[in-house]
Symmetry: C2
Subunit: 364 residues, 2 copies
């Protein structure tokens, strides 16, 4: 099928670009001896998780228990649930996952560790645990020092849990400019201290799992780090390009839309808004813009409602009329994927395959 036959809005994935992205990171990880456990929140498709494993991934990462259930279909050698799991029902679902493949959870509290231990005991299974370290984002994770040592000791003392090491996510690194590099160095020092303290206390971390997309290709510079779990790299997006993690040509995913109205002079309305792209803003400072318009880069996608995107045509000479089709690279591909029931793999202008986004909407 030709891509022009797809009903819009439609999310399409350039298969050649995606494969190159997958291979680039797989060989980076291999050449630096880093375990790769890709975060599947970006694609949410078991077939793509399978491809990551074929290229050498040691397992797959998910955020939620229901996502773990979906990703079992990729037959991962291991699963990392990078999110504290709380609540009996949810913990019992998690341990059913752990019965099917070796599973590890990252968490930052004694409450979460105890609940997990009890659930693992009920299920007669062992669950790996990473102590979550706050590497400067101020979201989840304990600080190095007594807090981290206490958490690691608690995990090690609890039955049916296996203390495996630490996890961290320095989401404060948005762009690897001078400021970003200084923040990266601070993360390196924090890691040095944290791991040193754990070793000294006899709690050597076997796994040190972390990193961020903008600093992905500098991960080998982080002391003790031996596992990365990038997500966005499979597709990349406009914010990854802004952060220096890719070029726009390396963005595999884009959204096809149709211009549905040009009633207002100098403006086109496209058939995708926040329900199609999400309302996530560009990470670049300045004028808000919700996507890079490949066919008319000077046109600005400046506003959206649920089903309407507003495009300012003032800067472009492209001929854009009611019925025209445009292709846009979204700011944030992970959230856009979550909005689509199915996506299409393309090569050139041909649709080669269509995948159901099996992990979309898995909130629990």
């Amino acid at each position: 099928m030709h891509i022009d036959e797809l009903e819009t809005p439609a999310l399409v994935i350039d298969l050649d670009i995606m494969e190159a992205n997958l291979q680039r990171v797989a060989s980076y990880a291999k050449s630096h001896g880093l375990r790769l456990r890709p975060h599947t929140k970006t694609h949410k498709i078991p077939a793509l998780g399978r491809r990551q494993i074929e290229l050498g991934a040691a397992g797959l990462t998910v955020a939620k228990t229901t996502e773990a259930e979906v990703m079992l279909r990729a037959e991962p050698p291991t699963l990392l649930v990078a999110y504290p799991v709380l609540g009996k029902t949810k913990l019992d679902r998690l341990t059913r996952v752990a019965q099917q493949t070796p599973t590890t959870v990252s968490l930052d509290s004694a409450e979460a560790a105890r609940g997990l231990s009890e659930a693992a005991q009920r299920a007669g299974v062992e669950v790996g645990v990473l102590a979550e370290l706050d590497a400067g984002l101020g979201r989840v994770g304990v600080t190095p020092g007594p807090e981290l040592l206490a958490l690691a000791r608690e995990i090690e003392s609890l039955p049916h849990l296996r203390f495996e090491g630490i996890a961290f996510y320095p989401g404060q690194l948005k762009k690897m400019d001078q400021q970003g590099s200084a923040a990266f160095d601070a993360v390196a020092r924090l890691l040095e201290n944290a791991c040193g303290e754990l070793q000294a206390a006899g709690l050597t971390p076997r796994i040190v799992s972390g990193g961020s997309t903008p600093s992905l290709f500098r991960s080998h510079e982080l002391p003790y780090l031996n596992e990365i779990r990038p997500g966005t790299y499979i597709f990349n997006d406009r914010n990854t390009a802004f952060g220096g993690g890719c070029t726009l040509d390396q963005c595999a995913a884009s959204i096809l839309v149709t211009v549905v109205s040009t009633a207002k002079h100098g403006q086109a309305i496209i058939d995708g808004g926040s329900k199609t792209f999400s309302s996530d803003l560009s990470a670049a400072p300045g004028t808000p813009s919700f996507g890079h318009i490949v066919d008319a880069p000077e046109a600005v996608f400046f506003k959206m409602n649920e089903e309407h995107g507003y495009v300012d045509l003032a800067g472009t000479k492209a001929r854009i009329a009611t019925g025209s089709r445009l292709r846009l690279i979204p700011n944030h591909i992970c959230v856009a994927m979550n909005l689509h029931e199915r996506v299409h793999g393309i090569r050139g202008d041909q649709v080669e395959t269509t995948w159901a986004v099996e992990g979309r909407g898995k909130l629990q």
Copy 2:
């Protein structure tokens, strides 16, 4: 089942509040002789569309063709697709809907009208058309005067189309304060002119369909208006309350979350972020905030990532610990509904029913 047994995050709907909301608008419409064709984009659930019809709705409104297909399950007496439909495949799907129930489309271009006419001809069906008028939002719709007359004539001249009147959406009305009232008066004058011109040209609009949520209960003051198609009123949300359309007590939908981390002092992390609430901001100016925390109104939901919500506890005395459950009223319920696979109808603290959100993710 007790609501505490629901896995979080979970979207719950207070059935008593919802029923009162439905009845309030149904009797407002009835008492003023206004046709009510509720926009189902808010709930996306055929069973709730059915309830709106039982309470007197003349039909249901949808934004997209795929939503129309879902809402056929509510057996609506009529369907209004309040969106220009373009593209042969999609138009052929739309006319299959029109074969099952009388269907009307609002559009603003000759291109859209011609495509619809050809598709209707192929299917051997007649489709109603409303000419879309720009009532000041600057999104879709033509301006009154020669543009509107030309569009109405084009529609009337095309085979298999039935010119029914006009549609408009004054989305610029955010709050009915002094400024909002002045903007409302401007909409009234615009409507007066537009309908007067159409009548003078022998193109009397049989249906004049429009209005906005903040001005909902003043709809009867708009000249010529004889149809309203509100959506949000079934649940209401924080932005509706801000706009004066309801009180917070009249918000039927809320999201239950669990606190998953309190590792950072003075902050709680909840298990819902942009994937659960959407990243739509509050319409109220000032500090950004992504939801009203019912159990701790002074705590501020100030930031989100996909799966994490950041709550500042500085202003609250509520005891909030890891594992605590909180209930939040989202800023914008329509986009939140689109993120949930299923939602739960509750009465008090009991879950009475669970609905699949059958119309979620219907983008085309």
